[in-house]
Symmetry: C2
Subunit: 179 residues, 2 copies
């Protein structure tokens, strides 16, 4: 048995959407009592720390409806069913920034919100960037603006909460460590 | 108008739970077309980078039903309605670890999953830890195990995916930067 495992007694699907699924699980807790867990299933995503020749970080600004504001993030996107994360990384980098990369390295993966969601982000580092001539189109509901920033500018944007998400905060810290 | 703003035409609440609320918003996109956004509302949370006298990081292992496994995380917990994040930080640190702290510093905040959720984590650094004699009880459905780890052990746990969430990955990197 897994440590502190919570066995599912009953699982009810509340909503099955385009991006996420919501289910409510009745579980047996380690002390024998029962509890309820609200769980969001997500297909998982990739995010790319793309570094230019000058050592700048490629970021995109986009509106995030959940937050009701636009924020600056590293390029990222959802996994398609059965897609390898590295393939998603190359595709999203191209779609969101117009860049291809000569070198793509897997860095690490993390769950974004383990308290209620199973979303996992696979982080990659892309180097050897080059502009793609006939770039892949963005999703039709995506509107983004491209920027290239230094670590110092990134830290300033964190302080001003223009950079305001976990993967990008991690990327800034990681890039600073490489200096 | 906010950059790339997506105005809500209609919002439908699908589920209102103990932790999260799910709603589906019909929005007007910047190009005038309409789209749908699946949005999870969450009360927000705090997480605490608690550092012992020996420079070790205090972490807890707990089962995360959404991931169907136990993972090792820095102490964290949801904001109660109207609660100041610093108050939540002190409470969660005490409940999950039995430690009080002489010094609590706000570090930064980030959205965990801006693509579908409004959850924001407020990160604090706690130093001057001391054991509390009559510690506050944990939530009745929480089962956790306490550990204190070095940065090197933390990096090993990241490599082995025992540490597997964004806030804790960030904490390990942040702590390494302080060395």
């Amino acid at each position: 048995m897994k440590k502190f495992e919570e066995k599912t007694i009953r699982s009810e699907e509340i909503y099955n959407g385009k991006v996420i699924t919501l289910k409510i699980d009745d579980v047996t807790l380690p002390n024998g009592e029962t509890g309820k867990r609200e769980i969001v299933n997500h297909p998982g995503a990739v995010a790319v720390i793309a570094i230019t020749e000058e050592g700048k970080l490629v970021v995109v600004e986009q509106y995030r409806k959940a937050l009701e504001r636009s924020i600056i993030e590293i390029p990222a996107g959802k996994l398609e069913p059965g897609e390898e994360p590295a393939t998603t990384a190359v595709r999203e980098l191209e779609e969101e920034t117009g860049y291809g990369c000569k070198e793509l390295t897997y860095l690490q993966s993390f769950a974004t919100s383990p308290g209620f969601a199973d979303e996992i982000i696979h982080l990659f580092v892309a180097r050897g960037l080059y502009e793609i001539e006939n770039r892949a189109a963005m999703d039709e509901d995506e509107f983004i603006e491209l920027m290239e920033i230094t670590v110092e500018e990134g830290e300033q944007m964190v302080a001003e909460q223009k950079i305001f998400d976990a993967k990008t905060a991690f990327a800034i810290l990681w890039l600073k460590m490489q200096e």
